[in-house]
Amino acid sequence: MSTDIKHHLNDAILMAYAAGTLPEAFNLLVASHLSLCDTCRAQAETFDALGGEIMEQMDAATPLPAGSFEQTLALISGGPVETPHEARAACDVLPRPVRDYVGGDLSTIRWKPVGMGVKQAILPTSSDASARLLFIPAGTAMPDHGHGGTEMTMVLQGAFQDADDRFARGDVEIAGSDLHHTPVADAGADCICLAVADAPLQFNRLMPKIAQRFLRI
């Protein structure tokens, strides 16, 4: 676990994660951050506790039909449906939730070049938001862009600088519709990020608009 995470998730996102109302792509980023950040994990589980109390205080006047208990016992005798997860190897760049979507580790990712050395891999999530892995060569800038909705970017390897802030492994940058930004990868190492967005990105110059068709963002 990384202990020097400086940029965290906010309470609205963590509450929506606990409620189970975020788009799948956002859930993926939150689960990845919580895998590395116990501060946010404790907050998310606090919102789970709130959910438990809301459920506890539900009107109990919705009994199940007769026979439901016996049906549930029959379900139980059929055995559990879930398969146990493998234990995590300590040195993985990809947190387990990302690895589950990639289908393996870093070497398994099928990168597609998008220009200037930047590569991406789109992850299969529901269409209400998108998730992609980005590979940004050391010292390279991403195209300047803004957002119609919310974009969250989590660093998995290396670091990037955006305006006054530096984002390293585990850090999340949350950008709303008002922010135009130009992240630049640190010179020292190639940067790998998980980026999720619930609306298409809007680029400011003609070239990136064309690139957008290929980026599918």
């Binding site: 929506a16 109302t21 404790a42 959910g51 809301i54 459920m55 506890e56 919705t62």
Partner: protein, 206 residues
Amino acid sequence: MSKSALRASATQLLTEMSAEPNQTNAGSKAARMLWVNHVFRIRDHGDKQAFAELFEHFAPRVKGFLMRSGADASLAEECAQDVMAALWHKAHQFDPGRASVATWIFTIARNRKIDLLRRQRRPEPEELPWGPEQEPDQADVLTLQQETVALGAALADLPDAQRDLIQKAYFGDLTHSEIAAETGLPLGTIKSRIRLALDRLRHAMK
């Protein structure tokens, strides 16, 4: 502390307080500890009587929560059965130093809701497994269970409009950008208890 010792202390507490979970003190610490004890009885002995009592209390609440979240009655019933069956199979994973039984069942129900209602996968954080060597301390368990009772009481005491807004967030009536995360509830105490429980698991993993 061993699992059997933890169970024994829960039983002792219940005897002292003469509590039954389905009576008027359903929100009390003793009731919470009784539910914890029920889960341990399922885990250790496959105790169907304990399961029946958990089912009677929680299955209707799971069903009600799912219907309020947009499921029709038959889907909510199917889902509530799945949730209770999962409780049986996952009983060994329940950590009473980190969650009340109500919290734990809520998380199972929430995940099932995403599966069934939204037909999406639910990415979960990497697990922090626990076993006999990381058994939560009895005092930590009692404190955490007490904190969830306090949280429930604070929720019930909120002005109706404020509680309604929080419920809407959990029933899926608000998007994340519409959620006002300032709840007016004392969440800090419970968060620090959970943080201690996470530290215990991290320490044991090393």
